[in-house]
């Protein structure tokens, strides 16, 4: 995080109100994202990891300005984003997104060329110029325009469709691209090709990435910084090297433990987590992870842990890190 932050987020929160179960019954809410703060350094990649339902995708949509946060601020180049229609249109030029489902994210009725051209044309680029942009980008992501430009999404493989989605995201010349599980659905060999393409593109086009995935190996390969989320909250945040070398939060350690590794030295001793995460509707009080944490103590059930530092730029929200928290293993995680 030594680089100048291009995107700074502070205290971002979003809750969804569910439909009332009946007359007079107060509607329940889902705390999808609560109090998330992060910095994306210029030219860096920030990986966001967590199990499904932990608020990763909501965070992505908040960062895109696709949904309005309940609280918190998002600053691009130090300037708070303008939420007027014009301001959002301007903002969206700079931040683009690639979705998980390569086929649902392409209009089946448009040729891939037309899909890539759509963004520039929305921003006033004339059709011939937009077509030139599309062809150049298709070529750049490894799809020969001569062969592919006139095809429809169903005629392409998943990997090829995801390349189209990348080209589409790049068509507006963004500075930040968010990948929401963008390679998760691909075969391993295709995944590696696409990841390498992403690294090349980042260097060539001076991009910054936010890379959301449940696959810790992929995140480690591509990220400079990593943010670990659990039930809508940040549990650990820091440089990738530091987090993978010294995972501190019990949840992070459990996640890494469940990650298959061929290297015997890297086999962690922490017990893997069992069961499914609790429902984000009415999450557990105190530390949200306490229901599945092997080290949970009295204090974890009642009080929310504060964020404490455990190394350079490395932050953890766990009572064990805070000597005064009252946790029996406090100060010796």
């Amino acid at each position: 995080m030594s680089a100048r932050p291009i995107l700074s987020v502070e205290g971002l929160s979003k809750q969804f109100v569910l439909r009332s179960e009946g007359f007079g019954v107060p509607p329940r809410t889902v705390q999808a994202v609560s109090n998330v703060s992060l910095d994306l350094g210029e030219g860096h990649t920030l990986g966001i990891v967590g199990e499904s339902g932990c608020g990763k995708s909501t965070t992505a949509r908040l960062l895109m300005g696709l949904i309005r946060p309940d609280a918190g601020s998002i600053r691009l180049d130090g300037r708070e984003i303008d939420r007027s229609a014009r301001g959002l249109t301007e903002f969206r030029r700079y931040v683009q997104m690639v979705f998980q489902d390569s086929s649902a994210s392409l209009n089946p009725r448009l040729t891939i060329e037309a899909s890539v051209m759509f963004g520039p044309m929305v921003h006033g680029v004339a059709r011939p110029a937009a077509r030139a942009i599309a062809h150049r980008l298709l070529d750049r992501v490894g799809l020969e325009p001569m062969r592919f430009a006139g095809r429809y999404p169903h005629e392409l493989s998943g990997g090829q469709r995801q390349r189209v989605n990348i080209a589409r995201a790049l068509a507006l010349e963004p500075r930040i691209v968010i990948f929401d599980e963008a390679v998760s659905a691909l075969d391993k060999s295709i995944e590696a090709q696409v990841l390498n393409l992403l690294l090349d593109l980042k260097a060539d086009l001076k991009l910054s990435y936010i890379f959301i995935s449940h696959d810790l190996n992929v995140v480690r390969y591509i990220s400079d910084d990593v943010l670990v989320m659990y039930l809508g909250e940040v549990v650990e945040y820091g440089p990738a090297a530091s987090i993978y070398a010294r995972p501190t939060h019990p949840y992070t350690r459990a996640l890494l433990a469940s990650m298959p590794s061929l290297d015997p030295d890297r086999r962690t001793t922490a017990p893997p987590i069992t069961g499914d995460p609790p429902s984000p509707i009415e999450p557990p009080p105190g530390c949200r992870f306490h229901t599945r944490c092997a080290l949970a103590d009295e204090v974890c059930r009642s009080a929310k842990p504060a964020s404490s530092s455990c190394g350079a730029q490395h932050f953890v929200s766990c009572h064990m890190l805070d000597p005064r928290s009252g946790h029996r293993q406090a100060g010796q995680p």
Partner: protein, 290 residues
């Protein structure tokens, strides 16, 4: 086991609609229906050129001649008017009264449904609950009730049918729009800064057109039967205007003397309605392949 090779040269892919039209053209039943419908429409337009007689002039001495009478190929009606002529002219009003309400309802119901499905929330609730109320009435009853209260006449019949046809079109277009709007490419389009109207035009419309079109085609069948039905009970066209439903009613007493002649106008209503229904089936299966 098939081996697929990418052709080495640039090729333009077959678009969705080109594919649909190619599959439809290979379907004999659909093509026959389409030709039949086009012939009937052409005959209706050219009625003054091809009809052998004046549709409103009859002769008392030539009443109720059978099919095959020289000079009156399809016989004559109860007032001695040439049946072929009246059937040709009758196609005009019968088709207009059936097709126009569907077209108006498609524009109004289709846009309302798109709006409700795309915007969601309160707009959706208001539009869909209103449609539900109309659904509480069986369509025939509602059409007859409205036409009956407004009074007999071609325009009133068209108004009544339009009102009846709007709610089902709202429902079909709303559910198709809601399904499409939930897909990522709509979100991606929004993320690229496109306005809602642009998204609706480029991304939503192209994807809901198929199911809405199939449904509309089958509605033509319903509307043609209903329109002639209104005339049949005296709520639509008025004598001496030639209209199939009205002609059928006028010839009700002729079933004892000239059953074949009496049944003729109904045969045409049946053929038109059946053709639209079969065409809708053909369209549906031509679109089913992704």
């Amino acid at each position: 086991m098939t081996l697929a090779f990418d052709p080495p040269v640039a090729r333009a892919s077959l678009g969705y609609w080109a594919g649909v039209s190619r599959r439809l053209r290979r379907d004999t039943v659909s093509m026959v229906c389409l030709v039949v419908l086009l012939l009937i429409i052409a005959a209706a337009i050219c009625a003054p050129l091809i009809a052998p007689y004046d549709p409103s002039v009859g002769s008392v001495v030539r009443r109720l001649r059978p099919v095959g009478t020289p000079g009156h190929l399809l016989g004559t009606d109860d007032l001695g008017r040439d049946m072929l002529t009246r059937l040709l002219y009758g196609a005009r009003l019968s088709l207009i009264m059936g097709i126009v309400p569907v077209c108006i309802a498609l524009v109004i119901g289709g846009s309302l449904g798109m709006l409700a499905g795309f915007v969601g929330g309160r707009v959706n609730t208001v539009v869909m609950r209103t449609a539900d109320v109309f659904f509480a009435f069986p369509s025939v009853l509602l059409a007859i009730a409205i036409a009956g209260i407004l009074g007999a006449g071609v325009v009133n019949s068209i108004v009544a049918l339009t009102i009846v046809l709007i709610p089902p079109l709202v429902r079909v277009s709303e559910s198709a729009t809601a399904q499409v709007s939930a897909l990522d490419f709509v979100e991606a389009a929004r993320a690229s800064g496109a306005r809602d109207t642009t998204i609706l035009r480029v991304h939503v419309l192209s994807n809901i057109l198929g199911p809405v079109l199939v449904y509309t085609t089958s509605l033509f069948s319903v509307a043609v039967i209903l329109a002639s039905g209104l005339s049949f009970i005296g709520l639509g066209a008025k004598p001496p205007t030639p209209e199939w439903g009205l002609m059928l009613n006028n010839l009700r007493n002729a079933i004892y003397s000239q059953p074949l002649v009496a049944a003729l106008p109904g045969v045409l209503i049946f053929v038109v309605s059946l053709s639209f229904n079969l065409l809708a089936d053909g369209l549906r299966s031509a679109m089913d392949v992704r």
